[in-house]
């Protein structure tokens, strides 16, 4: 029930529209239920044109009957027909607006669910994004949203329609003859029960069939992806057998569904037409007894349809409901996750670039082990600090904390203000971080660079690209800065992506920049060029560089050595090479590579 209420919250802001749709939906079968009355009138009139038809005989408004009775013969038929056409135009308008409003309502709901999901996902904390399964999440955002939308805008009105149609049909038939009405209702429970059973069964079978199809598709996918292996091992016959096996399984399960479908519809049409037969035959006996007229029987035959057809849809609506509940739960699971802004600071202080860490520790909620332990250090505005250490030492954790991707224990001050008191977005606007594996948006190079500031002129873009050593690569693309990159465009190399990310961050002129191993895919020479260009550019820039290259680290004002979440050393290159420890070891490996190489070659040549 609580799930159902959650479902209803999407409807709330459209209550007026929903009311109109409900009214129009009810009116659709009700207006239809008067059409047979016109035909009945015609028949009664033709059969007995001399006696006027009065209100009790026919269920049409008295003003219409008055109008009709003013005419006789052919003119009366004309007038009756025209009245029917006008009435149907009116009914057509109701049907049209019903469809139109349902469309508007349905699309608005879909839009609301989609946009709130998208915005919410954007705001979920980094730790959530680290763990998620993209495929599953997209499925929830697409097909589950479709299920919810379909239920709210198709199945719910349909339920109303079924009820209205049944009631209108029963009412009109009861006016003609209660006994015939009761006879016509005989098959309604049968149709209802069989359709509920059928749709339950078929949903179960559909799941099995979908699983079989998925298996078949994965065999196919494996074969397309691994075609080199198949060919190199001459395993084509084996591949064909495997695929055929899965293909046949899928075919079998589809056929099973189909047989159920054939049985259900065969049976249900048997019942439905049987209902017509029963109604006609009973009417014939009634006519023999002189109880009902020709007009009555013709109208009755038209009403049978209002009772027997809609009831079959009821089973389907009931089947869909369980699907909708599952979909709603899946969507609400995402929306129920607290965003990272549930716990945000309020301050927006001026940032110049002084950073201090005091006893900062960090661990994930679901692990015991601390990734950072009592980290203490200080960076002054304009300084460059390098962080070195092994994979998993906690280097990235430090900078992720600094841009508020993670919460922390202890105290971090940004220009004297406690970091957690500052608005997260404000922190990120002032502290730029360039990731090792940056995401490139599916846009042109130009759009990607100025994504943070679309008003930027070309000159500034080129300049940033030049500093990031990207410009020369880009001008060699066939379409230059207008080259589409990302999934549907040119695939950039790892180094190009990193340089693009640097250019993209540079144009934003943030006072603090963090390079999270973001030159790892760039060769040593380009690395040096970029750092030199950066130095020439900004004097006030505070930068933190995470790197594995000692040649990069040694130019920093300060080098921090991180081991197992603790700072084991901090100082300048000259200071650190003299002390025993990790830095010295690294320097001994990387410090004289050229000489070492020459030694190796001379040994190997011998």
């Amino acid at each position: 029930m609580s799930t159902f209420l959650k479902l209803m919250k999407w409807v709330r802001s459209y209550w007026f529209l929903v009311l109109i749709i409900a009214l129009l939906t009810i009116f659709t079968p009700i207006t239809y239920s008067y059409v047979p009355q016109f035909i009945k009138y015609l028949m009664d009139f033709i059969l007995n044109s001399s006696t006027p038809i009065i209100e009790g005989d026919i269920n049409l408004p008295s003003f219409l009957l008055d109008i009709f009775s003013n005419f006789s013969g052919f003119t009366a038929i004309w007038i009756l027909g025209l009245a029917l056409i006008i009435y149907l135009i009116f009914r057509g308008i109701i049907i049209f607006f019903n469809g139109y409003f349902k469309g508007v309502y349905s699309e608005n709901i879909a839009k609301d669910v989609r946009t709130s999901l998208f915005a919410h996902i954007q705001d979920l904390p980094y730790s959530y994004h680290n763990k998620l399964d993209t495929g599953d999440l997209i499925q929830r955002c697409t097909s589950d949203v479709e299920t919810i939308r379909g239920f709210l805008s198709v199945q719910m009105p349909e339920l109303l329609f079924v009820i209205a149609s049944l009631s209108a049909g029963v009412y009109q038939m009861a006016l003609i003859d209660v006994r015939i009405m009761l006879v016509t209702l005989v098959t309604v429970p049968i149709n209802f029960v069989t359709s509920v059973i059928y749709f339950r069964y078929i949903y179960k079978e559909f799941t099995i069939s979908e699983e079989n199809e998925a298996k078949m598709i994965s065999v196919l996918q494996e074969n397309v992806n691994g075609v080199r292996v198949v060919k190199a091992f001459a395993r084509e016959p084996y591949a064909i057998n495997r695929f055929e096996e899965e293909s046949r399984k899928f075919t079998k399960s589809s056929e099973k569904i189909n047989n159920a479908m054939a049985t259900f519809w065969g049976f249900s049409d048997f019942i439905t037409i049987g209902q017509y037969a029963l109604t006609v035959i009973v009417s014939v006996y009634f006519a023999k007894a002189g109880i009902i007229s020709i007009g009555d029987i013709i109208a009755c035959l038209m009403y049978v349809g209002m009772l027997v057809y809609p009831i079959k849809r009821l089973g389907r609506i009931i089947g869909d409901f369980s699907k909708t509940i599952v979909a709603t739960k899946r969507v609400e699971e995402i929306l129920g996750e607290p965003t990272e802004y549930a716990n945000d600071g309020k301050l927006t202080p001026v940032v110049t670039g002084n950073i201090s860490f005091e006893n900062v520790s960090f661990k994930f909620d679901d692990t015991k082990e601390h990734l950072l332990n009592n980290v203490n250090f200080e960076i002054k505005s304009g300084e460059t600090i390098a962080i070195v250490g092994k994979t998993g030492a906690g280097k990235s954790t430090i900078v992720n904390i600094l841009v508020r991707m993670y919460d922390y224990f202890g105290s971090i001050k940004l220009d004297g203000v406690e970091l957690r008191e500052i608005k997260k977005k404000w922190v990120r606007e002032n502290v730029g971080i360039i990731l090792q594996d940056p995401f490139i948006y599916g846009k042109t190079v130009m759009e990607n660079i100025r994504i943070g500031n679309p008003a930027l002129d070309n000159k500034a873009v080129f300049k940033a690209a030049q500093i990031a050593s990207l410009h020369n690569d880009v001008v060699n693309f066939t379409e230059g800065y207008n080259t589409l990159v990302g999934e549907k465009g040119v695939t950039l190399s790892g180094g190009q992506k990193q340089r693009l990310a640097i250019a993209r961050m540079l144009v934003l002129n943030k006072p603090i920049m963090i390079f999270d191993d973001s030159l790892s895919a760039v060769d040593t020479r380009t690395d040096l060029n970029i750092r030199n260009a950066l130095k020439m550019r900004e004097k006030q820039l505070t930068s933190i560089i995470i790197t594995h290259r000692i040649t990069t680290a040694l130019q920093a004002d300060k080098i921090m050595v991180l081991e197992d979440g603790r700072i084991t050393n901090i100082g300048t290159h000259e200071e650190l090479v003299k002390k025993e420890g990790l830095y010295k070891t690294l320097w001994s490996i990387q410090g004289s590579l050229e000489d070492e190489f020459k030694d190796l070659v001379s040994k190997e040549v011998e």
């Binding site: 080199r228 055929e244 293909s247 056929e255 049976f267 606007e429 943070g452």
Partner: protein, 609 residues
């Protein structure tokens, strides 16, 4: 425009050739089709019968009070009721049968073709394109071919049935229906087409929305770091609004169709009322017949609509058909000549008894190679590799070293010149013969989802467990397999995702070696593993390259140090040639490559000391 982009076929003409091919496919199982057609015609007959019976009852019992005909009437009606049950059952069963059979055949033919297509096809065809042909297109096509065409047939049959009955009953009244038919048909067709077009646009935007979700999710950290949440939200919101506007446009079109058709058919009813009513008043017509005409006119637009809907959808079906057919009819670039097939057998039915032993001598004679439209990759390339020799190819990406490997493996064939295996042009033997004697290890260690045992057995389908264990121990698979709970029955996951890259690569070695191939090809087999694993693999490589001809393309130079011959390839030519120490002495290309490699390795190493 890229030929693999999904084209808009909305304006294409009906192509008789395509449809001929399609019908051939449908008619593969003539019995089912015959039963289906019969059922559909029976159904149309019944659809005409039951208003006729109702009308008969009105005339006979209500107007003329001929109650003695009641038993006969009940009998007839009972037959119709039973008939409905039986025909609807048969019709759905058969239509479904034809549908799944056609889909099955389409997939089978396409997959068979895929197995025969040469490697170059996969190089230029996106995997997604191939997948879509075997899944959504075959589904769409088989659906339309069964239900769609049957719907159309039913529509035509019912339409004609009703028309015939009406004409036979009263030709003057029937003229009204006759006049109404084209009107309903044209309206239906026009709206169906615009509705389809509108929804096609909606679907396009929908796929953009899905792409946005995917971008929003995978780019979320970057978006956070750039504080772009507001911008991406606005972009997404705009896309959703665009979707909304277009979807509502489509909804308007489809909502207006039914009311229009309803009014149009009741205009027909109006004329029938007037004309028929007059006839009844004059005693020229019975009320039962008037009822028949009114009911038939009201229900008439149903079959007409079915026909027009189908015609509108045929274009889509044709688009699907064209795409599948283009796959099934792709010409083969690389194939065995008929006489070779006679002697050595086909890919599916090899005649292994006629296969010669392969020794492993390879020779390139003036080989040139270029891609279909592309630039020349190799030109007058000559190379002789003696049996048992161990040759390494090094060079930058795009230098042509992979092409040489692909040519030897006959994934591609030389544009000019010949490649000899054991002194004979390799085209004189079958492709399967070569592949069966080839061991091949790829850059990306690709495993099939299944157990480790099954994956190794892939290299030799009749391998015994002992053989598998033996080879696994030799290449180091056994070491890590023993640490798993269920040993060789461990499932490797899709593409091998549950194992580390290094473990996967070792399994690939085992798979390649279990058949004891005479030629072993290592295509950048060590480039996707880390430095630490590389060292152990290097030892294994030394072991396994003995006693067979071995070609390796290497990115990591540590693996080539011990090769008998190293070829440095640049722009399709051999620029340096010799042993490791020879090449270092030259201080040329190889020296530079080796130096860069050395530095990268050292950096890599210092990450994990």
């Amino acid at each position: 425009m890229n030929q693999f982009e999904e084209q808009d076929y909305s304006n294409s003409k009906i192509d008789a050739k395509i449809w001929k091919k399609i019908f051939k496919l449908v008619l593969k199982n003539k019995k089912h089709v015959a039963v289906l057609v019969t059922a559909v015609i029976c159904l149309a007959f019944l659809d005409v019968m039951y208003p006729l019976l109702n009308s008969y009852s009105i005339s006979t019992f209500f107007e003329n009070q001929e109650y003695e005909k009641i038993p006969l009437f009940i009998l007839a009606y009972s037959l119709v009721v039973i008939g409905y049950g039986v025909t609807v059952f048969t019709f759905i069963k058969m239509a479904g049968k034809v549908e799944v059979e056609v889909a099955y055949e389409l997939r089978k033919e396409a997959f068979l073709k895929l197995q025969n297509l040469p490697f170059s096809y996969y190089d230029k065809t996106p995997a997604g394109w191939i997948m879509a042909r075997l899944t959504s297109d075959s589904r769409k096509l088989s659906n339309i071919l069964s239900w769609g065409l049957v719907d159309m047939l039913w529509g035509f049959a019912t339409m004609s049935g009703i028309m015939i009955i009406l004409i036979l009953t009263n030709i003057r009244l029937a003229l009204i229906n006759l006049a109404l038919t084209p009107v309903i048909f044209v309206i239906g067709l026009y709206f169906r087409k615009t509705i389809l077009k509108a929804y096609r646009k909606v679907r396009k935007i929908n796929s953009k929305i899905t792409a946005s979700y995917s971008e929003g999710i995978s780019g979320s950290k970057t978006t956070k770091t750039l504080v772009l949440e507001d911008k991406t939200n606005t972009d997404f919101s705009n896309l959703c609004n665009e979707m909304k506007t277009n979807a509502i446009k489509a909804v308007i079109r489809s909502s207006v169709l039914f009311p229009i058709l309803m009014v149009v058919s009741y205009v027909g009813v109006l004329f029938i009322m007037r004309l028929g009513g007059g006839m009844v008043l004059n005693g020229d017509l019975s009320l039962g017949v008037l009822y028949l005409f009114i009911i038939c006119t009201i229900q008439f637009f149903d079959p007409v609509m079915h026909v027009s809907t189908m015609i509108a959808e045929l274009q889509q079906a044709q688009a699907s058909a064209e795409r599948i057919m283009s796959l099934i009819e792709t010409p083969l670039d690389i194939y065995d000549e008929a006489d070779i097939e006679n002697k050595y057998g086909t890919i599916l039915h090899p005649k292994k008894e006629n296969w010669e032993r392969l020794n492993g001598e390879i020779e390139f004679e003036n080989v040139s190679f270029k891609y279909e439209k592309g630039e020349t990759i190799l030109k007058d390339f000559n190379l002789k590799i003696k049996k048992g020799m161990n040759v390494a190819l090094v060079g930058e990406t795009g230098s042509g070293k992979s092409t040489i490997i692909n040519l030897i493996s006959r994934f591609y064939e030389p544009t000019t010149g010949i490649i000899k295996i054991d002194g004979i042009d390799y085209k004189a033997r079958s492709i399967s013969w070569l592949h069966a004697n080839l061991g091949y290890v790829l850059q990306n260690p690709f495993l099939f989802n299944g157990t480790i045992m099954e994956n190794i057995r892939y290299g030799k389908l009749d391998a015994t467990e002992e053989e598998i264990l033996e080879i696994s121990k030799e290449v180091g698979v056994d070491d890590f397999v023993q640490t798993f709970d269920i040993k060789y029955n461990t499932i490797v996951g899709e593409g091998g995702s549950k194992l580390s890259v290094g473990q996967r690569q070792l399994i690939c070695f085992a798979r390649a070696l279990i058949s004891n191939p005479k030629i072993l090809i290592l295509d950048e087999a060590t480039s996707s593993i880390d430095t630490k694993t590389e060292l152990s693999i290097q030892k294994i490589i030394e072991k396994i390259t003995k006693d067979r001809t071995c070609l390796m393309v290497a990115h990591r130079l540590s693996t080539v140090v011990n090769a008998d011959l190293i070829l440095v390839i640049k722009k399709g030519e051999i620029v340096e040639k010799g042993s490791h120490s020879d090449l270092l002495k030259m201080q040329g290309e190889y020296y530079e490559l080796y130096r860069n490699q050395f530095i990268t390795n050292k950096l890599e190493l210092s990450k994990n000391i």
